[in-house]
Assembly symmetry: C2
DNA sequence: CAGGATCCTTAGCGATACTG
DNA sequence: CAGTATCGCTAAGGATCCTG
């Protein structure tokens, strides 16, 4: 039985929260920012949400026109994707994530979904505009992603790249640690927590694009 | 007893929601965007929040460094104000409000706080850059505000203006209706729901700055 | 009266088990 | 795989009562 409580406030903020303010709602939207996802994929990305609650949130978000059921890209089953209205939440969630990252206290040990890491990667990476383009393949939670570095910009797309200089497979949390400390790449490869195929220097460039503050200044 | 549950997710969005995701938290921040407020003022602005819950939220937001207790501007009692970190939520709340306003369904009858109306006014007004500056005084819920129109921009500040072309007193909801339909000003004055003192045309200019789409295009 | 604290009820949440 | 059913728990909602 879906939630139906309202702030009874005409303000736009309150009306937005009537739709997005229930628990887990915005994290469901976050998971759909990069690619449509199926019910079970959402459960893996958000392991602490119970199935009935996830079903409730999906119903509510669909009812409010934030997401819709998509006719399944492949495999027969359906998936959930953002509507145009839902996609307009992307800059808001990006800003909210930036705000949350600069928290005073260090983050306690916690999980991280593939989407979270990729969103952070895309938002934080500042690749050298002068460097030649490079394409990497990332494999997170069993799904392949294409990451393009070109002209000082980063593009993250779901699916296999047509061609890539290198491929990296790791747990999302491990990749996140790697982004924070690129020098640990060699150790991570050695102990098997990260598997790299192809040109290791391409991976180094990807990690350095996030870590290096050479182009900092928030712009 | 303050709420302490976490999404246990290292993503910045989830960590932001650990602080701001509990019910009423973001609406409390909204109320503090324009001016520090006292406990009782927050209760009037958010009539549907119970006093214990409001006290809980204030404690939590203070603990997370979003608000702080201010030594009371006047009157002896204390007030709550945003910290620097809390003030950085302003653009996010603005964007969220814009998103919430363009909802598909018409808004059901609901209340509106003075802050809500003023935030909307400030965000939506597009005064003619060529017109001469004008200062209006607004009195909402017993508190005076100074609204300046100049150079195509609107400034909203708490407190009495040094000098003003006109003063308008009304319920926040009435002012909101007036912003949506400036032509009803005469009727509203006639039936007493709006009290205007001074130059009526200054008020008309204020209302027209919000209603007129002459400078639309969202920029 | 401002600024809460206390109590009680209800509804949303979390976890587990179950079904088409 | 994609949900539904059930149930104990906890936060939200509402009223009342305290304290300076």
């Amino acid at each position: 039985m879906p939630t139906s409580r309202s702030y009874r406030d005409s303000c736009g903020i309150a009306r937005a929260l009537d739709v997005l303010g229930e628990r887990w709602a915005l994290l469901v939207v976050r998971e759909l920012l990069l690619v449509p996802q199926r019910f079970s994929e959402l459960r893996r990305a958000l392991p602490h949400v119970s199935s009935n609650l996830l079903a409730d949130r999906l119903r509510e978000l669909e009812h409010h026109g934030v997401i819709r059921r998509a006719p399944a890209p492949a495999g027969g089953a359906q998936a959930y994707e953002l509507t145009e209205r839902g996609r307009r939440l992307e800059p808001i969630l990006g800003a909210l994530g930036d705000w949350g990252i600069e928290a005073p206290q260090p983050p306690p040990p916690a999980a991280l979904s593939a989407t979270s890491v990729l969103l952070f990667l895309r938002g934080a990476a500042r690749p050298d505009p002068a460097a030649p383009p490079v394409t990497c393949r990332l494999e997170l939670d069993g799904r392949a992603w294409t990451v393009d570095l070109a002209d000082g910009r980063v593009q993250v797309a779901p699916g296999e790249p047509a061609t890539a200089a290198a491929s990296l497979r790791a747990e999302p949390t491990t990749l996140s640690a790697l982004l924070a400390d690129p020098d640990s790449l060699a150790d991570a490869c050695a102990d098997g927590s990260v598997a790299v195929v192809g040109d290791l220097s391409a991976i180094r460039r990807l990690l350095a694009a996030v870590a290096d503050p050479w182009s900092s200044g928030d712009q």
